[in-house]
Symmetry: C2
Subunit: 397 residues, 2 copies
């Protein structure tokens, strides 16, 4: 092979999630759609709110074609950025500056652009198990080293281990709230505690430690939880956002990066982000969808549908005797496997056509992830399969 072997490996071995999803597609053809219980993939099942298509129609009718489909400035249309800043400042009592927002092709792009702007070869980036597996891919491609903090008892932040893992080489820390795969939201007290620790370490090491907050599920929170907006708590913070989940537009690739305006080097880092987006080939975020999110800011899909799914699935599985992490948000349920080997458990679940992602690729052992962004009917039909799976294990005792 005369080209880049690492890139080949990444293309050759898809993620465990994708592989399970493809298996499900094959099974459907054999046993029928209604008999496969596919909890593998985080693809929103709720349609975009009606205002999305209505607004696209309006933009097509009212805006001149050359302007509508033309290049915007590289960081994104300034009117759209103003609307996003105004909305966030009103909603979270925040201090977001339109000139520190950089519109992107979604959360993955937000992360890669930020990481490539931040990292120099050998820099360390801390992630908390369980974490979204692509973090590893993005960090390593940007030249960084992944440092995994072991899972906490409640699967949020293990501060004892974090303290051990922070070092002079730590350039950034990534948090993800609501979390994929657990659905847990980092509450205000946790963000305060984290900020305090990072500030101490910044002083100790005499350099910045950037807090990257990956927030594609920010609007998908079910109960009455106050979402702590990180730039209000920690100056050296960067927010990576996507409209994929909140507006059910995952294919359209639209999101943003916010550089905290309280950061000392705020403008310089923002420029590095512009440079990074340029060098990675992003040019600008898709123009029509920039205008769309500007016009529809504050709207979301009908999140209550996911809540209905969560409540039903969580309670039904609990009643069957499964051990679960209670999800505050996102559309994932993290469930303890019935044996220590999550991959073996996931394989046995396939006997009942239950597609559950083993937790190993998320950096923890002994769990499976259920993506419940699926139809309510499928969830109801799946309970009998979960019952059989449980009995299968019970009968072995």
């Amino acid at each position: 092979m005369n080209f880049n072997e690492k890139m080949f490996e990444l293309g050759n071995h898809g993620s465990a999630i994708r592989e399970l999803f493809e298996y499900g597609n094959k099974r459907r053809k054999i046993v029928g759609d209604e008999n496969v219980f596919d909890f593998s993939i985080g693809n929103p099942s709720i349609p975009a709110p009606l205002i999305v298509n209505e607004t696209i129609q309006k933009l097509l009718n009212e805006k001149d074609s050359v302007k509508l489909h033309g290049y915007t400035s590289a960081p994104g249309d300034i009117v759209v950025r103003s609307k996003i800043a105004d909305y966030l400042n009103k909603t979270y009592n925040a201090n977001v500056d339109k000139d520190r927002i950089y519109l992107t092709c979604g959360a993955a792009a937000s992360l890669t652009i930020s990481l490539n702007a931040l990292l120099n070869p050998g820099d360390e980036v801390i992630v908390f198990a369980p974490f979204f597996p692509e973090y590893r891919v993005f960090i390593e491609k940007a030249g960084g080293k992944v440092i995994v903090v072991n899972e906490a008892d409640d699967l949020t932040i293990n501060f004892t281990d974090l303290n051990l893992k922070l070092s002079d080489k730590t350039k950034a820390v990534i948090i993800d709230s609501p979390n994929n795969p657990t659905g847990a939201v980092l509450k205000e007290d946790v963000i305060i505690k984290l900020s305090k620790l990072l500030k101490e370490k910044e002083k100790e090491y005499n350099h910045e430690i950037y807090l990257i907050s990956d927030e594609p599920y920010r609007e998908i929170i079910y109960d009455d939880i106050k979402y702590p907006f990180v730039t209000n708590y920690y100056d050296d913070s960067i927010i990576c956002y996507s409209f994929s989940k909140s507006l059910s537009l995952p294919g359209e690739r639209i999101g943003y990066i916010i550089v905290s305006s309280n950061m000392k080097d705020s403008l310089s880092l923002y420029k590095a982000i512009c440079g990074s987006g340029r060098a990675l080939g992003f040019v600008c975020a898709p123009a029509l969808f920039q205008y769309l999110v500007g016009e529809t800011i504050g709207h979301t899909s009908n999140i209550n549908e996911y809540k209905k799914n969560r409540d039903y699935l969580y309670n039904a599985l609990k009643d069957l005797g499964y051990t679960l992490v209670y999800p505050d948000g996102a559309f994932y349920l993290f469930m303890k496997a019935l044996e220590s080997d999550a991959e073996a458990f996931s394989r046995r679940a396939l006997k009942y056509d239950l597609l559950l992602v083993p937790s190993d690729s998320f950096g923890v052992k002994g769990y499976v992830r259920l993506a419940y962004c699926v139809s309510y009917d499928m969830i109801k039909r799946s309970i009998d399969a979960f019952k059989k799976l449980k009995e299968d294990y019970d009968n072995e005792k």
Copy 2:
């Protein structure tokens, strides 16, 4: 600065083209829109064909929201890829395989994804002066070294210098036809000659030399010229395409990569491209615009408008005594500066509110680029300014 300095530099110093464009925006406010003759930027001035907005309407009306706006597979929707392959095979008598097409967020993404898939640190990539300045940014970010082949007399390919610059370290060669900034099309005999030389060198060095053909202007050719489709001539070729210019959709970010199916390692390189797209954070190309280009394949904006511009501008400037490269395609005119220092010439042109990009950033000296994707009226109004600029120099003699 505690982050990546190179990315900061790229964000801090925009391109010369962008800077001139911003200057034009300021001048317009002072002397009025109609008195600024802005030839700085390659932003299509012709609207997208009507079928574009009609098709978007149709997709919104007919396609289920979850499917329309949902993730596609990472390389792009398979039906869309089939349509693109069929169209290209019919049009160019080519051998494009739908499973070797990877849909991207435009030509810049096509290039960065391809380069990151190909390059290992220290690999050399050859470009031909004059070349699109962002090539340098993309190649260096992907870990490669830029090797510039000096300009030929006709500003296409200088084979003598190419022969000297090819080496055991050459991983790839980038061509760009129709060319930005000259508008020249590489004719079939040139592609045959280039392929022959590269094949010889592949044998000599006993490894592949990939030919990357950057073709965003492929459909913008005015005269009766046969476009040589590179995969028909050279097995180790990769095509980087964008619909930005042909459909006047530069802001929407939609294009593709084709890996030649005649390549020995075709599937492996395709997988490396999938891995590279993943690691750079692209996920998938914007879904709505994937379906759009599938439905409208073969359509273009009204290219005749650019031809009208070319003919008028070329002839008028020639009549004034300027020396010009005759452009076969794209929407750029490359004109000899009236002094050896192109930047000084460009500055003097500003006296007459003529915005012309000096050729230095394209890797050659003594020329300016005129982007004539502007209104016909502006071109007509500008001729008097070009006349005064010429007289200004003539009076010095």
